[in-house]
Amino acid sequence: MSSGVGVDARLRGFRQVQALAYECAEAVAAQLTPGVTEREAARMQRVWLRERGVRDWFHLPFAWFGDRTAFVGFKVPLQFFPTNRVLEEGMPYILDMAPVFNGHTADIGYSGCLGPNPLHDKLLDDLEAHRELILAEVRERRPLREIYEDVERLMQRQGYANRHRAYPFGVIAHKVDRVKERRFNPTVFGFGTQSLKGLASDALHGHRDGWSPLWSPYRFSDHPPQPGLWAVEPHLGFRGRARSSRSCWW
């Protein structure tokens, strides 16, 4: 959508970090056994990525097990942080991480289930429809708020609940961008300050130009898609179980 010098190189950078994140998710998922806690799973992701050169985060890795994948009873954002919930046989889980690597950000959610679970497969299949719907409607340059509503309607028709509404501002997606590499990268409430700074500057520019880096059901998202890289995560919830996926595009 956007043109310019070095687009290919930047895209390659984003692809690289995204691939790294998925590799991490698969590596950590392979180590999950009954008895592992959310905190341990989050730490495993953090350690794995640090070992491979990740120094900054859009947000620190999260892990949710069981009905926490569907954000059951989440009232305040602090409840998103990993707890001592123990993984059991047959339980669904989500690993959610957003590492910054060589100045490029990825934000992915990886859901799985300990042991075979036909319902999990069904949810993943149905997620595919959302991916197609979102891509098609973005290409038509429909306002983001309308796309959000269409996604919600599709979820309802499928019999699921919209669980990304539980995220801050109810966002289904947010813009990601290049981040400056610094030696010291502090986090605030789990979010990297460099990335927050980028998001804030986008929000400021967007506010002047009539768009927002947060894709929400509210009026500030009532605008056509803004060129750039977006991390999109529709989050399906179904009676205490949930699946999410992230995809990015230029």
């Binding site: 069981g66 009905d67 059991e88 046989e89 047959g90 339980m91 669904p92 036909p118 319902l119 069904k122 309802q156 028709r157 499928q158 019999g159 609940a161 179904f238 009676r239 205490g240 179980r241």
Partner: protein, 598 residues
């Protein structure tokens, strides 16, 4: 022969310990053996209905306990009915009918009390594959239950003791000498069949048999020989060595459900079931018993498996979920309007409890989708059916199809409904017709067709009609909708009165403002299409802000069926309005004049 007799049975006599036991067999002797033991005052004929249903799948064996039916009585009677001797009888019968394979025991009342002894003594180990207990606790467990409550008498425990103590009045009576025998051989024996029909709602179809007076007179020794001895000195090692399925009738006037509170201590592999019925379930609920026994026997034959409808999910545990699974596992539930909103959530809730679900909607695709997901979250079976509830012919066709292919519906949820808003004068006759057709006639057709099948079967059931808080909260914006829902409420109340005698409960659920797509599809009378669209959107937004989830309504529906409630307002505002409609109707009338913010 009436159905009180065991039709087509092969009879023989087994001689053991000085008595001759009359043993009846049905079904293919090569199949797993299910042994049915009757209670007091009964003979093996109490099982006739259940046995006939089980005989299609199993080798079914029934016998008259010593001193009952056509079995001879020990002499002397005193000391001839101890649990040890009854265990000898059981082993003799089991060896005669199934010498090589262990048997699946089913006991009702005293038959269950005996069978607990069989299942917990060492010498029967390896002879019992499974045990289904109905309305009869182990005397040893009962003894420990009493002791525990006597030694640490908290108010609750004292209450439980007094409650069961009052329910056991007949046990004290039977310990008086001679008088019980005189009563049974005299007036009580004559009146008993009528009493059973009146109090226990047992259908009068040739049961009880003519041997009742002597059965009852001999059987008094069951109590005299065992109760005092066992309750005073219960065995400390009464642990079951076979998987046990406990079926508890919730309306039993002789046994309180709390008796089984600590059963897991004695039974490592326990499956619990509850059934809304009185004590004589083998007569009043043969279909339900036969289906649970069949499922349990099949699961016990395949070691390591659990009954399909008693599976527990790794997520969402809790006492309520357990209670639903115990009650609704394997039951047939039909929900209309099941493609979205409350209907869909209700279908899912029943599915999680292990029920068999029929999802009906005019949107066939949505109904199929509900059925598909229901199957994935625990429904024993699930089907989607495309039917418009307002179409009489289509509903008749559906009722015939469901009865023929899936069976008689145990729980019917008439939920399909549409919204209509607008002033009375803006509402056209077509609008009226449409809303009444779906909201009222849909319910009428459902109750008429499926309710008739339920009543015809005569084994109880439950009907839930989705009314609305608008049924008692008037509003100038909802004349037609509120009228249709008020009619549903009153229909439910009348039907409840009519069906009470047949063990069928009727519930009217009044949800209130619930976040479903009824607002997005509602008709707004007297405005153009664009304005209607705007109001639909605005109403959806307001309901979305209220954000009361349909899942909570579904939970209220399951709970209402479990506890047989008449009218169930769900959301706080619906409860408040319900209260106000009784105590301050004037305030409600004032609210009715307010223009809704659309």
């Amino acid at each position: 022969m009436g159905s009180g007799q065991v039709n087509g049975a092969r009879e023989r006599f087994v001689r053991t310990g000085g008595v001759e036991l009359c043993v009846a067999e049905l079904g293919d002797a090569g199949r797993p053996t299910v042994l049915l033991v009757h209670g007091y005052p009964d003979s093996k004929e109490v099982w006739s209905e259940v046995a006939a249903r089980l005989a299609e799948h199993f080798h079914v064996v029934l016998y008259d306990v010593r001193g009952h039916g056509r079995s001879t009585a020990p002499a002397p009677l005193r000391g001839g009915f101890t649990l040890e001797k009854l265990t000898d009888d059981f082993l003799a019968v089991a060896d005669a009918v199934s010498p090589d394979a262990p048997v699946h025991l089913v006991g009702h009342d005293w038959g269950s009390v005996q069978a607990w002894e069989f299942t917990t003594v060492e010498r029967t180990r390896g002879r019992i594959a499974s045990f289904t207990s109905i309305s009869g606790p182990s005397l040893d467990h009962f003894g420990h239950w009493i002791k525990k409550r006597m030694t640490r008498p908290t108010p609750r425990k004292v209450g439980q003791l007094l409650g069961q103590g009052a329910k056991s009045w007949y046990v004290y009576m039977l310990h008086t000498p001679v008088l019980p025998e005189l009563a049974w051989r005299g007036p009580l024996g004559k009146q008993w069949p009528r009493l059973l029909r009146r109090v226990e709602k047992v259908p009068g179809d040739g049961y009880p048999t003519s041997s009742l007076p002597s059965d009852a007179a001999h059987g008094a020794w069951l109590y005299r020989d065992n109760v005092r001895a066992r309750l005073r000195r219960p065995r400390p090692d009464a642990r079951a060595h076979a998987p046990v399925q406990l079926i508890t009738p919730t309306g039993d006037i002789f046994l309180s459900p709390q008796l089984y509170d600590e059963l897991e201590r004695w039974v490592p592999r326990l499956t619990r079931r509850t059934v809304a019925a009185k004590h004589w379930v083998p007569r009043t609920r043969p279909d339900q018993l036969a289906s649970w026994i069949r499922e349990f026997v099949i699961s016990a034959e395949a070691p390591g498996s659990v009954p399909a409808t008693a599976r527990t999910e790794p997520v969402r545990k809790g006492r309520r979920a357990d209670a639903y699974a115990q009650r609704f596992g394997g039951q047939l539930v039909l929900v209309t309007g099941a493609a979205s909103g409350i209907g869909r959530a209700t279908a899912f809730a029943f599915a999680e409890a292990g029920a068999r679900v029929v999802a009906v909607d005019r949107d066939g695709e949505g109904a199929a989708r509900t059925a598909e997901l229901a199957g994935l979250i625990g429904a024993a079976e699930a089907w989607g059916e495309q039917t418009d509830v307002s179409d009489e012919a289509a509903m008749e066709k559906l009722a015939a199809k469901v009865a023929a292919e899936y069976g008689i519906v145990d729980v019917l949820v008439n939920n399909a409904g549409i919204g209509l808003s607008g002033s009375f004068f803006a509402t056209t006759p077509e609008d009226w017709k449409k809303v009444l057709d779906v909201n009222l006639w849909g319910v009428i057709h459902g109750c008429r067709l499926f309710g008739a099948q339920m009543a015809g079967r005569g084994q109880g059931g439950h009907i839930v009609n989705t009314a609305s808080a608008a049924a008692y909260q008037p509003s100038k914006a909802l004349p037609a909708y509120a009228t249709s829902k008020a009619a549903v409420l009153m229909l439910s109340e009348c039907l409840r009165a009519e069906l009470a005698g047949q063990g069928i409960g009727v519930t009217a659920v009044c949800p209130g403002f619930v976040n479903t797509d009824i607002t997005a599809t509602a008709r707004f009378a007297g405005v153009d299409a664009a304005e209607e669209k705007r109001r639909q959107k605005r109403a959806s937004r307001l309901y979305g802000l209220r954000n009361y989830p349909p899942e909570k309504v579904a939970d209220a529906i399951l709970h209402a069926v479990l506890t047989d409630r008449a009218v169930v307002p769900v959301t706080p505002e619906a409860r408040g309005a319900h209260l106000m409609s009784r105590f301050t109707p004037k305030a409600l009338r004032a609210i009715a004049r307010v223009e809704p913010p659309l």
